[in-house]
């Protein structure tokens, strides 16, 4: 072959490879890949290679011993103390070391949440009863995000000196209950997270073709047998997704351990070690090793779920057309359960959110009843230097992050939805996986990469230039999946031929996007952006680690954390922090209302 012929055939090879892509598409792919590679993959890789480089692999064996894993455990899960004729029941904990404590607690939270979530999903999807619509709204309340404070309310309710011990004492009932330590943390997290299982399982259950259940009934399966042999197996994808998210959320939760003063869990240890890494500007091995454990759990679960749900798609076999799920009237026993167990439990789960408001609007809440209605806390937020600066920071970061998210999410959703090519496939995974990557682990990775590693000294170096830019990048990556999903859903509604018709008439790709696609799905992009905005405002993990590197650039959640953990000499800032949480709550309610009106979609953000 002549040289010329060779270059001609090479030219054709390139034309063939690049034929499906316009320049704009290539830019979108490059931008998405670059963003996720730099701020998601690279930090995790940094995390992975850090132990061998900075610490030495032999050092890792200490993580198999106390205080990380403790076999000679001490403590008691339940204590009953009788004194002066009154019984005091104390739920406490047994210390098995940082790593085991976390796995024990997260497993229990997952088990409890799953049992509760499945039961209530079943009731909501198969039974018809007065008050159902009310319950539907009530179950959403525990999901409202009030960083840290809801756990403090839980502590106020059943922790030491809380309402469960004080009210019976005041009434002279002769007993009192205290749930403290890891037990308290488990209960508080169960209250927070069970609705996640509920939402995922519920949506699985209402997608089951009713004829599948009818068929089984027809063959003689009824009641619990029907549930166990048909309904539950077909809902397993929802169960797996919901339970997994709960496990991950519980594992990296900070609110409950802070409120219940549990420091021997992985999330707290990571925060502590990041803090000391920041102070001495040198990496603390705990942050790396514990983060790696969290990431491993998250990634393994995510990949397993993807594979499993992929295999299980039959559960969603859609027989053409829509159907309404079969519902029936509950029997007597079911009614008892609904009104005497379910309603009270849901109400109980809502108390933290309501308690946040109580704290926010009162001067003090020491005894049983709070005292002194006030708006001072809100006034303080807007007038005092530090909180108002933090609020302003958060608003700026959230706006900047959301601006980038809109571009990133639109690009990745478009590429994934419209181009099922080898180049686009990795973006599919990269765009969803931030949902499950523990924020604390990402924060550790980002600090290694940009603070200590190859990007030291760049504008993204949080030690050199303050954390603002790195925070925005972290927020963008962590909270983009919410927008990506909204855009993706919108694109699924827009038939590809609408774009092809424009391309065919001579419109370039960008002209097509702006004249056809964006007008048709703008509303999805907008509501996705709103959702991301809320979650950025409420973001905790990177905010309280990277965000505290320089106080002046700290976001709202970072100073909330600082106030609560005694950065300012004591824990008496709870009312002020609650007021901040209420602001975040208000923004959330606004966004939920807006997206409900605009998209007519249920509040179901949390799911994979």
């Amino acid at each position: 072959m002549t040289n010329k012929g060779h270059s001609r055939s090479q030219h054709r090879l390139w034309s063939r490879i690049l034929a499906p892509y316009d320049r704009l598409i290539l830019v979108m792919i490059a931008f998405s890949l670059l963003a996720f590679m730099l701020f998601l993959v690279a930090p995790l890789v940094a995390l992975l290679i850090a132990p061998s480089r900075a610490i030495g692999l032999s050092y890792l064996s200490i993580y198999l011993n106390p205080p990380y894993i403790r076999i000679d455990s001490y403590g008691e899960w339940v204590k009953v103390i009788e004194r002066e004729g009154s019984v005091r029941i104390i739920f406490d904990w047994v210390d098995h070391g940082v790593i085991l404590n976390t796995f024990i607690a997260s497993s229990l939270v997952t088990v409890f949440s799953t049992i509760i979530g499945i039961s209530i999903a079943y009731i909501m999807s198969r039974l018809d009863f007065p008050g159902k619509n009310l319950l539907r709204v009530m179950v959403i309340v525990p999901l409202l995000y009030t960083p840290f404070v809801n756990a403090f309310v839980a502590f106020k309710i059943f922790g030491p000196g809380g309402l469960f011990s004080e009210i019976p004492r005041e009434l002279g009932l002769g007993f009192s209950i205290v749930v403290q330590g890891l037990s308290g943390m488990i209960l508080a997290q169960t209250m927070m997270f069970w609705p996640i299982v509920y939402l995922n399982v519920y949506s699985s259950m209402i997608q089951i073709d009713p004829s599948l259940e009818e068929q089984a009934e027809n063959l003689g399966a009824r009641g619990f047998k029907l549930f166990r042999t048909v309904t539950l197996p077909l809902s397993l994808p929802g169960v797996a997704a919901g339970a997994g998210i709960v496990f991950l959320f519980s594992m990296e939760d900070l609110a409950a351990p802070i409120a219940f003063k549990v420091s021997n869990v992985m999330s707290m240890k990571i925060v502590d070690s990041i803090k000391s890494s920041i102070t001495i500007e040198q990496l603390h091995p705990d942050a790396v090793v514990l983060s790696l454990i969290m990431v491993t759990v998250a990634v393994v679960w995510f990949l397993a779920l993807k594979k499993y749900v992929g295999l299980r798609q039959y559960a969603m076999i859609v027989r053409g057309g829509r159907w309404t799920p079969r519902t029936r009237k509950p029997g007597f026993l079911a009614k008892l359960v609904i009104y005497l167990v379910v309603f009270p439990w849901v109400l109980f789960s809502m108390t933290p959110q309501m308690g946040v408001l109580v704290y926010a609007f009162t001067e003090e809440w020491r005894g049983i009843l709070p005292s002194g209605f006030t708006l001072d806390h809100f006034a303080y937020i807007f007038t005092d230097d530090e909180p108002s600066r933090a609020l302003r920071n958060s608003l700026i970061y959230a706006s900047a992050a959301v601006a980038i998210i809109v571009i990133l999410s639109s690009s990745s959703a478009y590429v994934v939805n419209r181009f099922r090519t080898r180049l686009a496939q990795p973006i599919d995974t990269l765009a969803t996986i931030p949902l499950v990557i523990p924020g604390l682990a990402l924060a550790t990775g980002l600090i290694i990469l940009f603070g200590f590693g190859p990007f030291k000294g760049t504008p993204l170096d949080p030690f050199a230039f303050g954390p603002a830019l790195l925070l925005i990048a972290a927020y963008t990556i962590r909270k983009s999946p919410f927008t990506t999903r909204a855009v993706y859903a919108g694109l699924q509604q827009v038939h590809e031929s609408l774009e092809e018709a424009a391309l065919n008439l001579g419109a370039s790709r960008s002209k097509t996007l702006f004249s056809i696609v964006i007008p048709l799905i703008g509303i999805n992009v907008f509501s996705g952006a709103l959702i991301s905005f809320v979650y950025v405002m409420a973001e905790v993990s990177t905010s309280i680690t990277i965000g505290l590197i320089d106080d002046r650039q700290a976001p709202l959640t970072a100073i909330m954390f600082d106030y609560l953990t005694g950065g300012y000499g004591g824990g008496n800032f709870i009312n002020l922090v609650a007021a901040m949480a209420s602001l975040i709550l208000a923004v959330q309610l606004l966004v939920i209302t807006l997206t409900n009106i605009v998209l007519k979609q249920r509040y179901a953000f949390i799911g994979v």
């Binding site: 034929a19 092809e500 018709a501 056809i516 007008p519």
Partner: protein, 364 residues
């Protein structure tokens, strides 16, 4: 106006070969139809011409220009989509004017041309409507108007009438033909409906399983189907099994049961005695043979089974002595009764012989 040429074009989707080594030459200004059963690769072929898919091998030319990897917006084709693909957020006027605005024509010129095309397709007065406020037929016309208003060099139509009811379908296809004749645009028309294809096309390509089986004028493909698939796919055909017993004067003679049939070999260059063959005869090729007429070949004697008066002809099912059945169309005046024995003949040029078994799957 351009000539469109496909050279050995193949397209795979994973393991599915949607288009298999297709070569076509579509002449300037003609209506060229791609006809074939659903799933045979018609749409994919059209999309390769439009630039929405790119072939794994082979090339596409517009005149002398190689457009194989050209972006769709640089090809100057205009497509009418099966689902019309009208933009729901734009009025009829804006839908139609879209392509003209892209060409940066002056406003006045745009208005003039939209008005012209609206008159052409009979939609004057509906400019301000949105697509969802139109009937199926009207949407169809908007899609057509949007495509032809830009004066494309090639007009591509993908089953444009399949979503319309039967009556409207016939009217619209007549309108499309008369429009095309007036404008002289090279037109590639995809359909699975053979009647539609026969009635509008200058030439037809018959596709099956990704391959083109025959290209020719409607009369050619009907009268001289080059293979068994085309013979059975186009029009109605009787397919009989036989065995070659000899050849005379360029015609092959086969035995079908006890009868002798002579006909033209269509799909191979030669046959030998003893070969199994398929014999295809159209129902309307038969004629009645009087009882006293003496013939030894191309006469079928059978028992009358079901017969039906269709209007312009009488459809009769004959059962041959060896159990094979043939459908015969006779003059509606023919007097017959069920169960009687009937003799029909056929001239050798109407008997097509095929060696290779390849036909439409859902043949009755």
């Amino acid at each position: 106006m351009v000539e469109v040429r496909l050279e050995n074009v193949s397209k795979r989707f994973g393991k599915v070969v949607a288009v298999d080594n297709v070569s076509l030459d579509i002449l300037n200004g003609e209506i060229f139809t791609i006809l074939g059963p659903s799933g045979c690769g018609k749409t994919t072929t059209l999309r390769i011409i439009a630039g929405f898919e790119f072939p794994n091998s082979g090339r596409v030319f517009f005149d002398e220009r190689d457009v194989t990897f050209e972006k769709p917006y640089r090809r100057g084709t205009a497509m009418v989509f099966q689902n019309y693909a009208l933009w729901p957020h734009m009025t009829v006027y804006d839908n139609i004017a879209y392509g003209l605005k892209l060409r940066k024509l002056p406003k006045e010129e745009i208005r003039r041309r939209v008005k012209w095309v609206l008159e052409l397709v009979g939609l004057v007065g509906l400019e301000k409507r949105f697509p969802l406020q139109l009937s199926g037929g009207q949407q169809q016309r908007v899609a057509l108007a949007r495509a032809i208003v830009v004066e494309p060099s090639v007009l591509l139509l993908d089953e444009p009438l399949s979503n319309l009811d039967a009556k409207l379908r016939i009217r619209m296809r007549e309108e499309i033909v008369s429009l095309q004749r007036r404008l002289g645009i090279t037109t590639i028309y995809v359909t699975h409906d053979q009647e539609e294809a026969m009635s509008i096309s200058d030439r037809i390509a018959i596709m099956n399983q990704g391959r083109v089986y025959q290209v020719g004028s409607p009369i050619e493909v009907y009268m001289n189907p080059r293979n068994l698939f085309v013979a059975t796919f186009i029009g109605r055909s009787n397919v009989l099994k036989g065995r070659i017993v000899g050849a005379t004067n360029g015609l092959y003679v086969a035995s079908v049961g006890t009868q002798r049939v002579s006909g033209i070999l269509m799909d191979e260059s030669r046959l030998s005695v003893g070969d199994e063959v398929f014999i295809v005869i159209r129902p309307e090729s038969f004629f009645l043979v009087e009882d006293n007429e003496v013939r030894s070949v191309n006469v079928f004697e059978g028992k009358v089974g079901l017969f039906m008066f269709i209007g312009s002809f009488l459809q009769v099912k004959l059962e041959l002595p060896d159990g094979q059945k043939v459908t015969v169309y006779l003059s509606p005046k023919t007097k017959i009764t069920q169960g009687e024995t009937l003799k029909v003949g056929v001239s050798p040029e109407d008997v097509k012989i095929y060696k290779t078994l390849e036909w439409e799957d859902d043949l009755e």
